[in-house]
């Protein structure tokens, strides 16, 4: 029962892995491009949750120093890096959406299977 115990102990990691898998499943199985982008966002968010939870320390508080108090902080590094990661995610999403807009203007659909069908019909 080591595995169950480990999963219960690491419930934050467990949850973020499950969300990650849901996001990947959406990306791989859906042909609608908007849904693909949603899946991409879910996947990224799961990774961000995972990274931030690495930095958690039992009983720790937000890492802002208050003069004259010594309290335990959480590890600030993962949180700081995920601020960067968030911006990367926004950038990728924005660019992907602009490409979908262009594809919609060209083909009149946001479904990648339908675009393939249109391409095949034209050849």
């Amino acid at each position: 029962m080591n595995i169950i115990q480990g999963l219960v102990d690491n419930y934050f990691y467990f949850a973020s892995i499950v969300i990650f898998l849901i996001g990947m499943h959406i990306m791989l199985t859906h042909s609608n491009m908007i849904k693909k982008i949603m899946g991409m966002n879910i996947m990224e968010t799961a990774i961000f949750l995972f990274v931030v939870s690495i930095g958690y320390v039992d009983g720790g508080s937000a890492p802002i120093v208050i003069e004259g108090q010594t309290i335990r902080f959480i590890n600030p590094l993962p949180s700081a890096l995920i601020l960067t990661g968030l911006v990367v995610g926004v950038s990728l999403t924005a660019f992907a959406l602009s490409l979908v807009i262009e594809l919609y203007k060209c083909y009149g659909t946001t479904d990648s299977d339908e675009i393939m069908a249109i391409r095949r019909r034209e050849q």
Binding site: A62, I64, E67, L83, L86, V87, A94, L97, S98, I101, K105
Partner: protein
């Protein structure tokens, strides 16, 4: 969207949101927040205006030409701050004391952190607004 209540409330709220955004940017090094959070709040105020009142009017508040200038200028400021420390014989992006060092916890502490945060805030706000207006209604350039 033509809802009188919504539009009026938005126009009343906008200055408060913007002041809050500026506060978050300026106090990024003292309290939770910073360039990214504050910039997004600033951008959100304009997005709210665009959604409830009119996208064209929002573009009037923040036209494309100014957006391009702000985009380029803010990142250039960031790189140039790094290069200044290079010219002073330190490594790139070394934190150099710009202001005379006051006591911890006041606004002008932290060397070049506040200029950097301001640049990031301007950059993020501008990017959020520009992305929104361009994706919301593709314009004829």
């Amino acid at each position: 969207m033509n809802d009188f209540v919504l539009q009026t409330v938005t126009q009343i709220l906008m200055p408060f949101i913007q002041v809050y955004g500026i506060f978050v940017v300026l106090n990024g090094h003292l309290s939770p927040g910073g360039g990214f959070a504050g910039g997004t709040i600033l951008g959100a105020s304009i997005i709210l205006y665009a959604l409830t009142v009119d996208v064209k009017a929002a573009e009037g508040i923040y036209p494309d030409e100014r957006a391009e200038m702000v985009e380029s200028a803010s990142v250039l400021v960031f790189v140039l701050l790094g290069l200044i420390s290079l010219m002073m014989g330190r490594n790139f992006l070394t934190n150099i004391g710009i202001f005379p060092s006051p006591e911890t916890g006041t606004l002008l502490t932290g060397g070049f952190i506040m200029p950097v945060t301001l640049a990031i805030g301007a950059k993020v706000a501008s990017t959020v607004i520009t992305l929104f207006t361009h994706l919301f209604e593709e314009k004829k350039s």
